[in-house]
């Protein structure tokens, strides 16, 4: 099982590495969306500092969602997914490998880029640290929930918009506590509670999402 996981992980990472453009595009999208907000609301530092957690988190949500289309669709088109379903290894493990590689390619770059963008919004150093930790805990949840949405809409017409409709409402708790943790640092109340809850969401999503995703894939490939 570990070998199957490693195999999927290596394969997906290699494919992503060969087509670096996709990864870079999602990251550039994140940077552009975040940079548009000061242009829209004005460059006042105090206002930007208040908005920063929400803006960064919403942009991360959207960037993560955009990359969901690549999660299963290429494998569905070239028939790899069908072979995965037929393989002797449990589908849940293969799904988990794909989700991990999706997070490494879409979530982790956001985590690494976020402090730089936080500086644009004049966030203090301790808030930047919490922002990174919250994204580190939160973006895997986004990948896990998103994988269920991507599997449900696999091969459906208009799936790009549809996946947003399905997945974004489910992202609400992660957004609240992710952005809330950074806001809590600014308010001086400490971010532990928010981060613990984000960790709880991650634990719950790790347990439930791969199974739901595997079930959805079986339904889609029936």
């Amino acid at each position: 099982m570990i070998r199957a996981l490693g195999w999927v992980l290596r394969r997906d990472l290699l494919l992503a590495f060969r087509r670096r453009g996709d990864v870079v595009n999602a990251l550039v999208f994140f940077v552009i969306v975040v940079s548009l907000f000061p242009l829209g609301v004005g460059p006042e530092a105090s206002q930007l500092r208040n908005m920063a957690p929400g803006v960064l988190w919403v942009a991360a949500l959207l960037a993560c969602m955009l990359s969901l289309a690549r999660l299963f669709a290429p494998d569905h088109q070239d028939g790899t997914l069908e072979q995965m379903l037929l393989a002797g290894e449990p589908l849940v493990v293969l799904v988990a490998g794909k989700v991990i590689s999706h997070w490494l390619m879409s979530g982790l770059p956001l985590v690494l880029m976020a402090p730089l963008l936080g500086l644009q919004f004049d966030l203090p150093a301790d808030a930047l640290g919490v922002l990174c930790v919250s994204l580190l805990l939160g973006t895997p949840v986004l990948s896990l929930i998103g994988a269920v949405g991507a599997a449900l809409t696999l091969g459906v017409r208009g799936s790009g918009v549809l996946v947003a409709l399905l997945v974004l409402p489910l992202y609400v708790p992660v957004l609240i506590f992710g952005a809330g943790s950074v806001g809590a640092v600014a308010a001086g109340t400490g971010a532990e509670a928010h981060l613990l809850l984000l960790g709880g969401f991650l634990a719950l999503a790790v347990v439930l999402a791969p199974w739901a995703c595997a079930a959805a894939l079986r339904i889609a490939m029936e």
Binding site: V172, I176, G180, A215, E222
Partner: protein
């Protein structure tokens, strides 16, 4: 009706769309009648019997629509999740059809709850919309209903649409409490104590009675509307069968 060949009553008899269709047809007018009667009584109590509120005046009377609609919107999502789960596990077509038929009614009540909330907010809070925990989670519930209906509408293969919708509904059922408590915590952190939906400390007995009767009326309406809709879904999906051809007089 409802008897198997051995003469024993069996619920499974009605799990087939063909035998459920006439039963739904018989029951539907009764539930519709009950809905009309209960809503008439409820509205009478809420407009003429219930006393005028000391602080909010007559504007509070929208509560008799607003609260029952909000109750039904959440309850119907749970019912939808239940039938989705049954359809997914037992692979019964009728359960999935019921889940499909429930969604528009649930979305309707969610919308009514939001709309009346806005109408109520204007005279009492002075604003159409507040980011109150309950209003916000109702809004997200509406998004969940819309997502369910959009997913089912986008998939052409009927069986796949049923099952994909069922998985989504179950994921939603797990998420609803998480979303609700997140939003609740979020709004208590963000807003001052100026606005509170629970500001009415004591509620007159007649108010509660009116609200409960309205809720029962909405419940009966939901059943009636769902039965009517499930009959249409059955006819549409079974249109290739002989019994549907006979039912609609060979017009297929």
């Amino acid at each position: 009706m409802g008897m198997s060949k051995t003469g024993r009553f069996s619920w499974y008899y009605f799990s087939s769309p063909q035998s459920f269709y006439p039963l739904a047809g018989v029951l539907q007018p009764w539930f519709a009648g009950l809905a009309v009667a209960l809503c008439a009584v409820g509205l009478y109590i809420s407009f003429f019997v219930a006393p005028t509120d000391a602080t909010q005046g007559d504007a509070y009377r929208i509560i008799f629509i607003h609260v029952p609609a909000a109750w039904m919107s959440m309850f119907l999502y749970l019912v939808m999740g239940f039938w989705s789960g049954v359809g997914l596990v037992l692979n019964t077509r009728l359960s999935s059809m019921v889940a499909t038929a429930l969604a528009p009614t649930g979305a309707l009540f969610t919308f009514i709850a939001l709309w009346t909330g806005a109408l109520w907010g204007k005279p009492t809070w002075g604003t159409w919309w507040v980011w109150d925990a309950r209003l916000t989670s109702e809004l997200i519930l509406l998004f969940l209903y819309i997502g369910f209906m959009a997913l089912q509408a986008a998939i052409d293969d009927q069986r796949r649409a049923d099952k994909a919708g069922a998985v989504l509904a179950l994921v939603g059922v797990i998420n609803i409490p998480i979303i609700y408590f997140s939003v609740k915590w979020w709004s208590t952190l963000h807003q001052g104590a100026s606005v509170s939906m629970t500001s009415a400390p004591t509620m007159a007995k007649t108010m509660l009675l009116g609200m409960l009767i309205m809720a029962l009326g909405f419940w009966m309406y939901s059943i009636a509307a769902t039965l009517a809709r499930v009959r249409c879904v059955i006819l549409e999906r079974e249109r290739h069968t002989d019994w549907v051809a006979a039912e609609i007089g060979g017009q297929s």
